[in-house]
């Protein structure tokens, strides 16, 4: 793209793709914004009227809102904590040479291929079920009272299910980062008298900083919109104990048929996502600079 001429033609060539992507983003966003300012209920078609910011007031003063906000942030933070710590540990393990490493690596990646509803149902019915579940069987075998996971610690259970799904992603990214660490650096640290622990803290972790940042940012985008796992396991309950912002939007739109308030909730979710993004970029974004 050296000359003015080639740059102009390059822009022309790129234009269709750029315009399509822009429309793809701007049309739904614009419509959501528009709906959020209407009194729009699916039970009363053709009765839409302008209400200004009332929908936002309703959504923000919903008794479940503050719980949903806290649940959303707890879910994101909990899953990030487990996947980053667990992913780093697994990556370090899988980086060691051992017999059958190829198969083990494949198995570790497997949960990522299971669709969210299926894995949530498997966890709910085969693992966490208080009567038929594996955990209950283990508890009874050692003579303990089985725990009804999804009733007693519902948010924690959902965090565990989602973390199980995202652990392979974190492991994979961190493993590739680990493999790009210069062998001579580790040897130099060994010569310099650093033990295994010091080598991990002073050499491996700083090397992984950028990959961890990528994992945190990408996962946050997806974790803010976790929905299927909640729908098939707890339905947001008991009470509102596992209701997140995403789930609250679903309640408004498809259970109360209030499209206007749901749209306002959607816009609030977008704003929340941006606040989290700004916060994360401030906190760890410098790792992305070279």
């Amino acid at each position: 793209m050296a000359t003015l001429h080639t740059r102009t033609s390059a822009r022309l060539m790129m234009a269709p793709a750029v315009i399509l992507l822009l429309a793809w983003m701007i049309v739904p966003l614009g419509m959501t914004l528009y709906f959020s300012l209407l009194r729009y209920n699916l039970l009363m078609p053709g009765m839409e009227s302008w209400t200004g910011l009332d929908n936002y007031t309703y959504f923000l003063t919903d008794p479940a809102f503050s719980t949903a906000l806290a649940n959303t942030l707890l879910l994101v933070a909990g899953v990030l904590l487990i996947t980053v710590a667990g992913g780093t540990a697994l990556a370090v393990l899988l980086d060691q040479p051992f017999w059958g490493r190829g198969i083990v690596r494949l198995l570790v990646i497997a949960p990522f291929f299971v669709m969210p509803t299926v894995s949530a149902l498997v966890w709910k019915n085969m693992l966490m079920h208080p009567v038929n579940g594996l955990f209950a069987w283990i508890a009874r075998t050692v003579g303990l009272q089985p725990v009804d996971w999804l009733a007693e610690v519902p948010l924690f259970s959902i965090i565990v299910i989602v973390a199980w799904q995202w652990l392979p992603f974190a492991t994979l990214i961190l493993l590739t980062a680990l493999q790009s660490l210069d062998e001579e650096q580790k040897e130099a640290a060994e010569m310099d008298g650093a033990g295994a622990g010091s080598r991990f803290i002073y050499i491996v972790l700083p090397h992984l900083a950028r990959a961890i940042t990528v994992v945190v940012l990408i996962q946050t985008i997806f974790l803010l919109s976790i929905f299927a796992e909640i729908l098939v396991t707890t339905n947001g309950g008991p009470g509102v104990q596992t209701t997140t912002i995403t789930y609250l939007v679903y309640l408004q739109a498809l259970l109360q048929f209030d499209v206007g308030t749901a749209s306002a909730g959607g816009i609030i979710a977008v704003i929340l996502a941006n606040i989290v993004a700004i916060f994360l970029i401030r906190l760890i974004g410098k790792n992305l600079d070279t």
Partner: protein
């Protein structure tokens, strides 16, 4: 402080035997260069001494005590790697201080030693920079700084200059030699460049296929190579080898003659040849001369020697500086 003794040391990776068996005695304060073509096992030998690889057999004694199974950090050796292996996320100060920090030194001692090392290596102005912001030569000095603060018994260098450009290589060569005179510590230096070996070493170890071909001072190796391999490896340009009937006339299976030990004449001499290529270096001229029944010979003459390709010349090797080798390639 830093004497190293290798007894019958061998190394194999699975079936592949890299080093069959090596005995070597390195005394304290010596500058020893391991030199050989790539794949001859010189880097492996260095890593065995460092403890980064386990020996397959034999013993390694450092200062008289058996260190064969001792982890690298407790052998009191410091190593400078080919890629420098600096820690990219730490400043120059952090890099040089790292071994001291690992040794649990207190803050003031670390600060003093880092400052001293930086002064010796001209790094004072760069202490707060990251390795990525330094030039190749500066990175090399940081790597050396990280080695000297530990005050090790011996320094190990693994082809430390091969990533530098030619001019910088000559300068760093001199700096490392000066550092050796200043510190008076044992240094083991691995290189495939015989010029580095000749200019820096007290003692050169010529390695080929995992075996020691010859050990000696640079001039010993130059004057009396034990075999064809050493004769061909040491000296630049390479020694000329003459085989066949012309060699038999001089009483050997192979005769070696260095380019600088050839007398050229336009009137008479032992062999007659035709000039192919003349390389003018200014101080010297290298002539590649095609001689019938002998092959191509390289001759080194004065810089002002004017000759054109195609000129006929007579060539006479200096009789008392001929190297004679038997059928097995050994000198006699």
């Amino acid at each position: 402080m830093g004497s190293i003794l290798l007894e019958n040391v061998s190394k194999a990776f699975g079936e592949a035997v890299i080093i069959p068996s090596i005995d070597l005695d390195i005394s304290d304060g010596e500058f020893v260069v391991f030199v050989g073509p790539s794949g001859c096992g010189k880097s492996t030998l260095l890593r065995l001494i460092a403890g980064l690889e386990d020996v397959s057999g034999g013993r390694i004694l450092i200062d008289g005590s058996d260190m064969t199974g001792t982890p690298p950090a407790r052998r009191r050796l410091a190593m400078v790697f080919q890629s420098y292996a600096l820690y990219p996320h730490m400043s120059v100060r952090g890099n040089i201080a790292f071994p001291l920090k690992m040794a649990g030194e207190n803050r003031e001692v670390i600060e003093r030693k880092v400052t001293d090392a930086a002064r010796v290596l001209n790094l004072t102005d760069y202490l707060d920079r990251k390795p990525g912001q330094l030039s190749g030569g500066q990175r090399q000095r940081v790597a050396i700084g990280r080695a000297i603060v530990r005050e090790p018994g011996a320094f190990l260098f693994d082809e430390p200059l091969s990533n530098l450009d030619a001019a910088l290589r000559v300068a760093m060569r001199l700096e490392i030699s000066q550092l050796h005179q200043h510190l008076k510590r044992t240094m083991i230096y691995v290189t495939h460049d015989q010029v580095e070996a000749m200019t820096m070493a007290d003692k050169i170890v010529v390695l080929n296929a995992g075996k020691i071909e010859q050990v000696g001072s640079p001039l010993e190796l130059y004057r009396s190579p034990h075999n064809l391999f050493v004769a061909g490896f040491i000296g630049s340009p390479k020694m000329n080898f003459v085989n066949g009937i012309e060699a038999e006339k001089l009483g050997a299976a192979t005769v070696g003659v260095r380019p600088e030990h050839i007398t050229l004449s336009t009137s008479d001499g032992l062999w007659e040849g035709e000039v192919g290529v003349a390389e003018h270096l200014g101080s010297d001229t290298f002539l590649h001369i095609e001689v019938k029944d002998v092959g191509q010979l390289t001759a080194r003459v004065g810089g002002e020697f004017t000759v054109r390709p195609g000129d006929k010349l007579f060539i006479s090797p200096d009789r008392d500086r001929l190297h004679r080798f038997n059928e097995k390639g050994a000198a006699f």
